[in-house]
């Protein structure tokens, strides 16, 4: 007892330092919490509203705790809500997005892996220049390609079809996937490839036996990047498809464009969440790879 009292009296500086430390920590967590609230609030508002009754929302506004818990809005948004005459909810558009995103992701990733393999391990005269030219595709604004795509899709009979969007996303995605894979494969030692070639392994054998087994990290990054990017894309969806053929992003804009008439916020909230769910789930379960893709895409 006496010791403690003595210490406290004798070391005011240490006490002040401790106090300052705690204030610091408190401030850090306070600021982080404040921002966390700002970031999470919109998500919570939408989740709550998808569970509330429309009459409750109309009376108490959008920002309020749910007084009821019902999934009717979800069911309606998924299957029966009417947008411009057809009452099928979002499910068609959800599957449009899915059947657009999955093939486009897989094809562009596969092509990117093979391109990256060639451009890192089978370089030839001029391959670096070709690689740099392909990279230009990363920076192209979609607006430049709108009219040419409209013409090409028309010629190919792919206007207003999911296949047309798959084609666009594959072509647009190749430069990203090639970049990701090439930069990853460069770090695989060339000696490994040389040794395999001396043993008589050819192009495809080396790809299957050496490159692919080492590829999962970069393939996951690429697939996540492509999937979220293509799922969330809006411009091509709204330009080249309409009504029943629209991917979910375009359908969401059509759904919420109701003007100022009484808005079914409960159903629209559920619809928005249906559209946001696939990339959110991927983010939550593959967050590490998502972030890696971001930083790799950014700092080349």
């Amino acid at each position: 007892m006496a010791d403690i009292a003595l210490n406290a009296r004798h070391d005011p500086e240490a006490a002040a330092a401790t106090r300052r430390y705690f204030w610091n920590r408190f401030l850090i967590y306070a600021v982080l919490t404040l921002f966390a609230v700002i970031y999470l609030a919109p998500l919570l508002v939408v989740v709550f509203n998808s569970l509330r009754e429309q009459s409750d929302i109309a009376r108490n506004g959008l920002i309020s705790l749910p007084r009821s818990f019902r999934l009717d809005a979800w069911a309606e948004a998924w299957g029966t809500y009417c947008v411009s005459g057809t009452c099928e909810g979002m499910k068609r558009n959800f599957f449009n997005s899915l059947w657009m995103t999955i093939p486009a992701t897989l094809i562009s990733t596969l092509l990117g892996a093979m391109n990256g393999y060639v451009l890192s391990k089978w370089r030839f005269k001029g391959s670096e220049i070709l690689f740099n030219l392909m990279l230009l595709g990363v920076f192209m604004p979609g607006q430049i390609s709108l009219m040419p795509w409209a013409f090409l899709l028309g010629k190919l009979g792919l206007t207003n079809s999911t296949y047309g969007l798959v084609l666009i996303h594959v072509v647009q995605g190749i430069s990203f996937t090639t970049l990701f894979c090439r930069n990853f494969y460069v770090s695989i030692p060339d000696d490994l490839i040389k040794a395999a070639r001396i043993d008589g392994a050819g192009f495809w054998r080396i790809f299957r036996k050496i490159i692919l087994p080492l590829s999962p990290p970069i393939l996951i990054v690429t697939v996540i990047w492509q999937f979220t990017g293509i799922w969330n894309e809006y411009l091509f969806g709204v330009v080249f498809t309409s009504g029943q053929q629209q991917p979910i992003t375009a359908a969401l804009v059509a759904l919420t464009a109701g003007g100022t008439t009484a808005r079914a916020y409960d159903v629209m909230s559920a619809a928005v969440l249906i559209g946001a769910l696939p990339p959110l789930l991927i983010y939550l379960f593959g967050g590490k790879y998502f972030v890696r893709g971001l930083t790799q895409g950014a700092i080349k």
Partner: protein, 311 residues
């Protein structure tokens, strides 16, 4: 003589043919992607360039009119609004999200508990589409149902927050939402940068008695200076391409007050049947990107070379 005549015809067809095929495989694998990229990057760009010089209106036509479309584009008041918005948005958006991103990164870097949780919260907006973000925020900005109604309900009855209802303030709603969406991205890049700083450097500063804030200002931030530039360049790119966010949040309105170049292109090409002028606006977008990206890429190449030379 006779032996040579014998051996050559036997050996020649076999090995060179297989060898040649062997060396061809990588090029054959690359060829389809190369062709597609070439068409996408060069043919499409030249195509749109030509359309921008043509008299295309409702359909693409190829009567050459020189720079007429560009002249009428720059004479258009709405285009003026579009690029003014772009400058305004770019400035606030980049500075805002970098400032918040840096603050969050530094705070998280203070060995906080639950780092992964904080990071996940700050970065999730980037996983969802601008369409989702824009839609939800358009509700929150709605004066009748959103934030204004909420604060008034708390008792502050003359509180006013109706950015999207007013021509002069709607652009700030776009800016705020843009910052909300992407400051987590800046945070992720800054955090990666902070973690890559040599710990010995920081230790040396601390031994010299430098305070935390001084260590950050004098040692850590200067070493991650290239990241500031990288973040800025990426965000200018986002800004120039901004389309989805505005389409979902304000649809370019009220009136035409939140028109952006990308919105302008879409509107002219597909709503007003002025393909020629729309193509001219698209070419201006490309030019804006080139103005930012070409010097940046050259700088990157130059930096890599000098670093390579210095070991």
């Amino acid at each position: 003589m006779s032996t040579r005549d014998l051996t050559i015809p036997v050996a020649a067809p076999a090995t060179p043919w297989r060898q040649r095929l062997g060396t061809m495989v990588p090029i054959l694998v690359l060829a389809p992607s190369l062709a597609a990229s070439f068409i996408y990057v060069f043919v499409f760009t030249l195509w749109t360039l030509y359309l921008s010089l043509s008299n295309s209106s409702l359909m693409p036509t190829y009567g050459f009119v020189g720079l007429d479309n560009y002249a009428s584009l720059w004479a258009n008041r709405r285009w003026n609004i579009a690029y003014t918005n772009l400058f305004l948005f770019s400035g606030f958006y980049i500075v805002g999200s970098m400032a918040i991103g840096l603050l969050l990164a530094i705070l998280i870097d203070q060995r906080v508990r639950g780092e992964a949780v904080w990071r996940t919260i700050f970065l999730y907006p980037l996983a969802v589409s601008f369409i989702v973000t824009g839609t939800v925020w358009s509700w929150l900005y709605n004066p009748v149902d959103g934030i204004q109604a909420f604060v008034r309900g708390l008792g502050w009855t003359d509180f006013s927050f109706a950015l999207t209802a007013n021509r002069n303030t709607a652009i700030y709603a776009v800016i705020i939402t843009g910052i909300w969406q992407s400051s987590g991205f800046a945070m992720a890049l800054f955090l990666a940068g902070l973690r890559s700083v040599d710990p010995d450097l920081i230790k040396a500063a601390q031994i010299d008695g430098a305070s935390v804030s001084r260590t950050y200002r004098k040692v850590i931030l200067p070493t991650i200076a290239p990241i500031f530039l990288a973040v800025a360049v990426i965000q200018i790119q986002f800004a120039i391409k901004t389309f989805d966010l505005v389409a979902a949040l304000t649809r370019g309105g009220p009136g035409v007050s939140t028109t952006f170049p990308a919105i302008y292109v879409y509107d002219l090409m597909f709503q007003r049947g002025q393909i020629g002028e729309g193509a001219a606006a698209a070419m201006m977008m490309l030019a804006a990107l080139a103005v930012v990206l070409v010097p940046y890429s050259l700088w990157i190449v130059w930096r890599r070379r000098t670093e390579g030379r210095n070991g």
